[in-house]
C-alpha cells in the first residue's frame, strides 16, 4: 500500500448538501462523545497501574482496603521488599540483559534485513519465510532443548544464558527489511555508482535514515526483554543472578500472595520503564509514526 494510492471511487456518491449549522452541532456532540469514550478508555488503561502503586503503600492489615488513598500510607512494603530480595541488583541485571538484547537484535536484524532488501539470491524467499515462521514456534517447544543446551555450555545461573537465545528477532528482521525496501532506490544506486561497498552503504547511507524504525524497534525489544518471565524462571538459581520479574514472582506462593510486597516489587519493576516513557513519550509515539510499521 502506498500513501498516494487512488481512493476507491465510491466516495463521490456520498456527497450531499447539508446545512452547515446542523453539521457543526452534530460534530460538537460527537466530539463530546468521542472525548468521553477516550477519557474512559484512558482511565481503564491507567487505573490498574495507579491501584498497583496505592496497594503497595497499604500496611499489611489494611491491604484489603478499597479507599482511593491508603488510610495510613506507609513505605513498609518497600522496606520489606528491599530486605527480602536484592532489588537493585535484579534491576541492574534486567537492565544489562535488556540493553544487550536490544543492541544485538537490532544489529543482527539490520544485517539480515539489508541482505534481504539489497539482493536477490537463491533461496532468499525460503530463508525469509523460515525467519518469519520462527514467530510461530511456541517458546514452550524450544524451551527444554534450549535449557539442556545452556546447561551443557555451563551457563545455568548466568546472565549470558538469558541473552544467548535472543540474538535474533523475526519481527525486527521483517520490519527492517520492509523499511530498507521502501528506501529510495536512486540513492542506493548513486552510492553504489560512487563505489561504496555494501558495508559502507548500510552504515553511512541507510542506518542514518532508519531512525524511526530503529527507535521504535529498540523500544519494543527493550520492553519485551525487560518483561520476559518464563525463560528466566527456568534458568534462575539465585536471586543475585536473576532478573526483576523473578523477584516479583517470589512474593507469590501457595501459602498466600504477599500482596503488599508484591505490589511494591511490581511498582519498582515498572517505574524505570514508566519513567523512561514519561520523559520520552512524544519521541516514542513519534518514532512509531515514522517507523514504517504497517
Amino acid at each position: 500500500m502506498t500513501p498516494d494510492a487512488i481512493p476507491a471511487p465510491g466516495w463521490r456518491l456520498a456527497i450531499r448538501p447539508q446545512a452547515m449549522a446542523q453539521r457543526r452541532g452534530r460534530r460538537l456532540g460527537r466530539g463530546v462523545l468521542g472525548h468521553g469514550v477516550l477519557l474512559a478508555l484512558s482511565f481503564v488503561c491507567l487505573f490498574p497501574i495507579y491501584w498497583m502503586v496505592v496497594t503497595s503503600l497499604r500496611p499489611a492489615n489494611a491491604i484489603f482496603e478499597t479507599t482511593l488513598w491508603p488510610s495510613a500510607a506507609s513505605l513498609a512494603n518497600y522496606r520489606y521488599t528491599l530486605n527480602a530480595i536484592p532489588v537493585a541488583q535484579m534491576l541492574g541485571n534486567t537492565l544489562v540483559v535488556a540493553l544487550l538484547v536490544t543492541a544485538i537484535q537490532l544489529l543482527t536484524a539490520l544485517l539480515a534485513a539489508f541482505a534481504f532488501a539489497r539482493w536477490r539470491f537463491t533461496g532468499d524467499r525460503l530463508v525469509f519465510a523460515l525467519v518469519a515462521l520462527t514467530w510461530l514456534v511456541p517458546f514452550q517447544v524450544v524451551m527444554i532443548p534450549n535449557f539442556l543446551l545452556v546447561a551443557q555450555l555451563g551457563l545455568l545461573d548466568s546472565l549470558t544464558a538469558l541473552v544467548l537465545p535472543h540474538f535474533a528477532s523475526a519481527l525486527a528482521v521483517m520490519l527492517l527489511t520492509q523499511a530498507i525496501r521502501a528506501f529510495p532506490q536512486e540513492v542506493i544506486e548513486a552510492a553504489h555508482m560512487d563505489g561504496a561497498s555494501s558495508w559502507r552503504l548500510l552504515w553511512q547511507v541507510l542506518v542514518p535514515n532508519l531512525g524511526g524504525s530503529l527507535a521504535s524497534l529498540a523500544i519494543l525489544i527493550f520492553i519485551s526483554t525487560w518483561n520476559e518471565y518464563f525463560w528466566p524462571l527456568l534458568l534462575s538459581r539465585t536471586p543475585e543472578n536473576s532478573v526483576i520479574q523473578i523477584g516479583i514472582q517470589m512474593f507469590m506462593s501457595a501459602e498466600g500472595n504477599q500482596w503488599g510486597p508484591l505490589m511494591a516489587a511490581s511498582t519498582m519493576a515498572s517505574v524505570p520503564i514508566l519513567a523512561f516513557y514519561l520523559v520520552l513519550q512524544r519521541q516514542v509515539v513519534q518514532s512509531f509514526m515514522q517507523s514504517g510499521l504497517r
Binding site: A60, F64, I144, L149, Q152, T238, F251, M252, E255
Partner: protein, 437 residues
C-alpha cells in the same frame, strides 16, 4: 547439543535392542562418614519465595553447616509450581540433585521416575531406628511407599477450620463452640450469611491449584477412598465418595459454601469477609497478617460426617533423597536428620508455620513449650497429628492428569447442574485407564 544427540542415539539403540541402560545398584549403603569437604544440592521451594519460609530455611542450613563443617549445602530455590519438571530438567542436564523438598502427591513419581532412594536401602537398620525414635508411627507412614520409607515429612500441615469469632458473635453463634460436623458447619454458614451479609464458608477443596489432598480427607472421613489400598483401582465414584461429594454439592446449592478459587478464598478469610475457611494450616501466617488488630481469628479441627471419625491427611512436603554417590548420600542423610530433628521441627513450626512430627517437643520448654502457649491456633493441628493418614500419591507417569481429571469432575459435580454419581463414574473410568497397567 552433541551430548543430547548422543542420548537420542542411545535411546534409539535402546529402543531397537530392547536393552535397558544400566541403573545404579541400590543395595549399597551410604558411606559411614564424611572425611573430606563435599557439597550437596538441596532443591527447596521455600527458598524460591521471599519471606519467612526462605529466612527460616536459610537459618536451618546455616545451623547445619556450622555443626557439619565438611558438608556445604547449596540451597537451590525452585518455585513450587513446576517443581518436579525443574528437577527433571536438571537431572536431564546432568546436574547433581541430592535432596529435594517435594509435595507428598508427587511421591510415586519421585520413586519411579526421579529415582528416589529408600532410606532402608541406604542406612543401616539400627541407625535408622535410632533416628526414627520419637516420630509418631503414623507420621512415618506419610512418606512410605510399597513398604519402604522414601520421604520424611518436612514442611507439612493438616486441614483446619479457621473461623472469624467476631462474625460468629454478630450472627448470634457461640465462638467457643465451633461446629464439629458438616451439618453444623452448613447451619452456621447459613446463619452467618443471613445475619451478617458476609460469606459463610469457603474451602480449599476445589480449584485449579488445589490438588486432591483436601478432597481425599473429605472422602476418607466418610469412610471412602479415592484410590484402593493396592493403588490399582480408582474409587472416587464409590457410594461413600458420592455421598461426600453430594454433601459438598448441597453446601454449594444452599449457598452455604462460596465458590471461590484458592487465593480468593484465602483473601476473603483474611479480609474478614468470610465466616469459616477449611484449608491447610500452612496458610495461617497469611490469614493472621490480615486479621491482626481487625478480628478475632480462631481455628478448629476438620468437620466430620455425623458421628463418623474425622480422617484427615496431610498437605505439604517431604524430604526425598536422590543422591547416587555414597558420600553425598551420607551428607544428604545427615541434612535430613537435622531438618527432622527436634531443633529442626522447632524452627519449622515456630518460624514458618508448619508442624512438628516429633510430638514430644510440643511440651518441652527447651523446644516448642513456650511457643505453643502463645499460639493457640496450632492446637487443632496438634490434635489431628494423632489421627493423620497419608495423602495417597496417584501412581504412574500420568498421575497429574489423573488428579486433574478427578478434581475437574468433582468441581463439575459440586458447582454444576450435573448428576453427581454419573459425573464421578465417568471420570473414574477415564482415570482408571490412566493408571499404569
Amino acid at each position: 547439543m552433541a551430548m543430547q544427540r548422543r542420548h537420542l542415539l542411545a535411546g534409539l539403540a535402546t529402543a531397537a535392542t530392547g536393552l535397558l541402560p544400566p541403573r545404579p545398584a541400590i543395595a549399597a549403603f551410604a558411606a559411614a562418614g564424611i572425611d573430606h569437604p563435599v557439597q550437596i544440592n538441596f532443591y527447596n521451594y521455600n527458598l524460591a519465595t521471599a519471606g519467612l519460609g526462605a529466612d527460616a530455611t536459610r537459618k536451618l542450613l546455616r545451623e547445619f553447616m556450622r555443626a557439619n563443617p565438611n558438608i556445604k549445602v547449596n540451597g537451590v530455590g525452585v518455585p513450587v509450581t513446576g517443581f518436579t519438571a525443574r528437577v527433571q530438567a536438571d537431572l536431564a542436564a546432568h546436574r547433581q540433585v541430592d535432596l529435594i523438598q517435594l509435595g507428598f502427591g508427587d511421591l510415586d513419581f519421585a520413586v519411579h521416575s526421579l529415582g528416589a532412594k529408600a532410606l532402608e536401602d541406604l542406612i543401616p537398620a539400627p541407625e535408622l531406628a535410632a533416628n526414627f525414635a520419637g516420630i509418631a508411627p503414623n507420621g512415618l507412614k506419610l512418606g512410605m511407599l510399597d513398604g519402604k520409607t522414601y520421604g520424611l515429612a518436612y514442611t507439612f500441615s493438616t486441614p483446619v477450620l479457621f473461623y472469624n469469632a467476631d462474625l460468629f458473635r454478630a450472627a448470634g453463634l457461640n465462638p467457643d463452640q465451633p461446629p464439629l460436623t458438616w451439618a453444623e458447619v452448613k447451619q452456621a454458614a447459613l446463619t452467618i450469611k443471613a445475619k451478617t451479609g458476609k460469606g459463610g464458608l469457603a474451602t480449599g477443596i476445589l480449584g485449579p491449584s488445589a490438588f486432591d489432598w483436601l478432597f481425599q480427607g473429605v472422602v476418607r472421613s466418610n469412610g471412602g477412598e479415592t484410590i484402593s489400598r493396592d493403588r490399582k483401582t480408582m474409587k472416587f465414584a464409590a457410594p461413600e465418595a458420592v455421598e461426600a461429594v453430594a454433601m459438598l454439592r448441597d453446601l454449594n446449592d444452599s449457598g452455604a459454601m462460596a465458590n471461590l478459587d484458592v487465593n480468593a478464598a484465602m483473601e476473603a478469610m483474611a479480609a474478614g469477609d468470610m465466616g469459616m475457611y477449611l484449608q491447610t494450616s500452612a496458610v495461617q501466617g497469611f490469614i493472621v497478617a490480615g486479621a491482626k488488630d481487625k478480628f478475632d481469628l480462631r481455628a478448629s479441627t476438620m468437620p466430620s460426617f455425623g458421628a463418623k471419625k474425622v480422617r484427615p491427611n496431610n498437605s505439604g512436603s517431604a524430604l526425598i533423597l536422590l543422591a547416587t554417590d555414597p558420600v553425598l548420600q551420607r551428607a544428604a542423610w545427615e541434612l535430613m536428620k537435622f531438618l527432622t530433628s527436634k531443633r529442626g521441627y522447632t524452627i519449622i513450626t515456630s518460624e514458618i508455620g508448619y508442624l512438628p512430627l516429633r510430638t514430644d517437643i510440643v511440651d518441652d520448654p527447651q523446644y516448642l513449650g513456650e511457643w505453643v502457649k502463645t499460639h493457640p491456633l496450632v492446637q487443632p493441628n496438634l490434635k489431628q497429628l494423632a489421627v493423620l493418614e497419608p495423602w495417597d500419591a496417584m501412581p504412574g507417569p500420568n498421575y497429574r492428569q489423573i488428579v486433574k481429571t478427578m478434581m475437574d469432575a468433582v468441581e463439575l459435580a459440586v458447582t454444576g447442574k450435573v448428576d453427581v454419581a454419573a459425573t464421578l463414574l465417568a471420570a473414574q473410568q477415564t482415570t482408571q485407564a490412566m493408571l499404569p497397567k
